[in-house]
């Protein structure tokens, strides 16, 4: 093992290149509906010149008054984003324009803009495709946001596991800098904005915004108590705004076409299009950009329907942290924040995990609970201890060792995690447990019953006699 870990040999590189994602199945399938961010992409047209051909950087030119107009003031930009009904695409769904208005614009010191591309919520792979195949949409969106909030320095924190996408984004940054679209005095104006890409290295918790800030500061990514919120105490203790990749990527379209036009694409309070990552038991897993408010049944159809012609059993509609919904409820939902919330779950990051009628919910919950145990940062006792406890109990039920009061125990542990931790990872671990038990209690009970029956046989007098006989 004296050879370098990363072989520099080209045979190795070429071999691995054969297995790299091409985006053909997940992104360039032509099954989007009125796409904005993923429109007209083919995998090779990610460069600056291609982006400009698609109308790219016109929004930035417009606000800076480069094409003859008077330009937009920061207040006008924020008003436009507010009017669009754009809500945070990372999972919380907070109104973006409102978030931007929280930044103290007259603050005398340095302020920061951060893009959260630490896409690790199981089921989600949309930000990867945006950054890999349309990176300039994120760069332009961040530049516009920086202008609106009077920010001069930004970072895009990218999930460590998608290193080639991090490299791609760095290449796009170089193109933008060379063209005078980033850096000092952008396009000859007095607006300056420096943007850098940084990468994580395998910690789900860094997708939590304050965990991400800690990580950006070169520390363990343990979330901070809020308040103070990042808008007043963020990166290096300075006012900071953090938005998701897809949120930034939506902004240029809004500025080019107006907030009203964006709102029009979706439905009231849920403006625009949204990219859904559809995974699990469908024929054609991938990213689908569709207008907010599109029926779930339509999305399922775009993804080729349930795999192998099986029946739909359940859907986790917004990433692994969101409560599972049975097929009957899901088929009545439209894909937007309000409809999914009303049904008792969350739109989250838009990661739609589809499960067919052959799936065992105990096994599925076991895998999710293992994940939350593995990724708990260890800072808060209810989460650090509780996530392990949840996994151990679900694991023993799945292994046929469940006890009669285990479901009450699971709900009790979940109750004692939820709402009692610094960040939402505790809630994210507890919610799937409660929802699985709520909707699929019979599956858990059946496994437990099987075990208690077997135990009763083992504990029967005959067995006892046999055991003592063998001991004698």
């Amino acid at each position: 093992m004296t050879l370098p870990f990363y072989s520099k040999n080209s045979a190795f590189e070429n071999l691995l290149q054969q297995f790299a994602a091409t985006g053909v199945q997940t992104c360039f399938h032509g099954r989007h509906i009125s796409p904005q961010i993923l429109a007209n992409l083919d995998g090779s047209n990610w460069h600056l010149s291609d982006y400009k051909d698609r109308g790219g950087y016109q929004a930035l030119r417009k606000i800076l008054g480069q094409d003859g107009g008077a330009g937009l003031t920061p207040d006008q930009v924020i008003a436009e984003v507010k009017a669009s009904g754009l809500r945070g695409r990372g999972g919380a769904g907070f109104p973006t324009g409102l978030k931007w208005s929280f930044m103290p614009r007259q603050f005398p010191g340095q302020k920061y803009l951060v893009c959260n591309s630490d896409e690790g919520e199981p089921g989600t792979c949309k930000d990867r495709d945006i950054m890999h195949y349309n990176p300039h949409s994120v760069i332009e969106g961040m530049a516009i946001a920086a202008y609106a909030m009077g920010i001069t320095v930004g970072y895009n924190y990218i999930h460590g596991e998608i290193f080639s996408t991090y490299k791609r984004f760095e290449a796009a940054l170089d193109e933008a800098r060379t063209a005078g679209l980033l850096g000092d005095n952008i396009l000859g104006s007095n607006f300056s904005f420096q943007l850098h890409a940084v990468h994580g290295f395998g910690a789900y918790i860094c997708g939590e915004e304050t965990g991400l800030l800690e990580s950006l500061e070169g520390k363990k990514g343990q979330p901070r108590f809020k308040p103070p919120f990042p808008a007043s105490f963020g990166l290096y203790g300075k006012p900071t705004t953090i938005n998701n990749t897809e949120t930034f990527a939506a902004v240029p379209w809004i500025i080019r076409n107006s907030g009203a036009a964006y709102l029009e694409c979706g439905k009231p309070n849920n403006g625009g299009t949204k990219i859904y990552s559809v995974s699990g038991d469908v024929e054609l897993p991938g990213n689908y950009e569709i207008p907010m408010g599109t029926p779930f049944s339509k999305l399922l159809e775009l993804a080729g329907g349930v795999r192998k012609g099986r029946k739909l059993k359940a859907v986790i509609p917004g990433g692994s942290s969101s409560p599972v919904l049975p097929a009957s409820i899901m088929m009545e939902c439209t894909m937007d924040y309000d409809s999914i919330a009303k049904a008792g779950s969350m739109l989250g990051s838009g990661a739609v995990i589809v499960m067919d009628d052959s799936r065992c919910m105990v096994e599925s919950l076991k895998r999710l609970s293992y994940f939350y145990m593995h990724e708990s940062c260890g800072q808060c006792t209810p989460c650090r201890e509780g996530t392990g406890w949840l996994w151990r109990v679900v694991d023993r039920i799945h292994n046929g060792l469940g006890r009669q009061n285990d479901l009450d125990l699971l709900n009790s542990v979940a109750d004692n995690i939820q709402g009692r931790t610094i960040c939402a990872l505790g809630d994210a671990a507890a919610m799937p447990v409660r929802a699985m038990i709520k909707h699929y209690r019979h599956e858990f009970e059946a496994m437990i019953k099987e075990n208690t029956l077997q135990s009763a046989v083992l504990a029967s007098p005959v067995q006892t006699v046999n055991r003592s006989a063998s001991q004698a």
């Binding site: 691995l16 790299a20 596991e161 070169g218 990552s277 559809v278 986790i316 692994s320 995990i353």
Partner: protein, 161 residues
Amino acid sequence: MISESTKVRFEREVAKYPAVQKQSAVMACLQIVQQEQGFVSPESEKLVADYLGMAPIAVHEVTTFYNMYNQRPVGKYKLNVCTNLPCQLREGTKALQHLEQKLGVAMGETTADGLFTLQQSECLGACADSPVMLVNDIHMCSFMSNDKLDQLIDGLKSAEA
């Protein structure tokens, strides 16, 4: 000693941050160390700490907190297969089992020839491409059916021969 070529790479990362916030570059510096040496040794942590003006324990906290840093030497090819729920639903677990059989090791182990370390991993952020596998932290391999896994492993073995 940090080599001059490594220092150039470190410097590029440090330049992204304010002069008084060099510590922010620690994740990138440790990634560079791992890429060059295969793992992050306590000696490397000390060198990075000195370079960035950090306490060695603060660097060690980073190495141990983030999943992808290797704290001890691993095989020449580190294979991380995602088995999180979306991947589990699409043969991710089967891909891991197939590799266990093919390589004759259990997950978490390294083959006797030192070529392969096989690990189960959490969400790689490529759920629609399942089964997915990350090779040596930077090469994501998508849609890894058993056939493609065989092709990849056989290819890597013959590149070594």
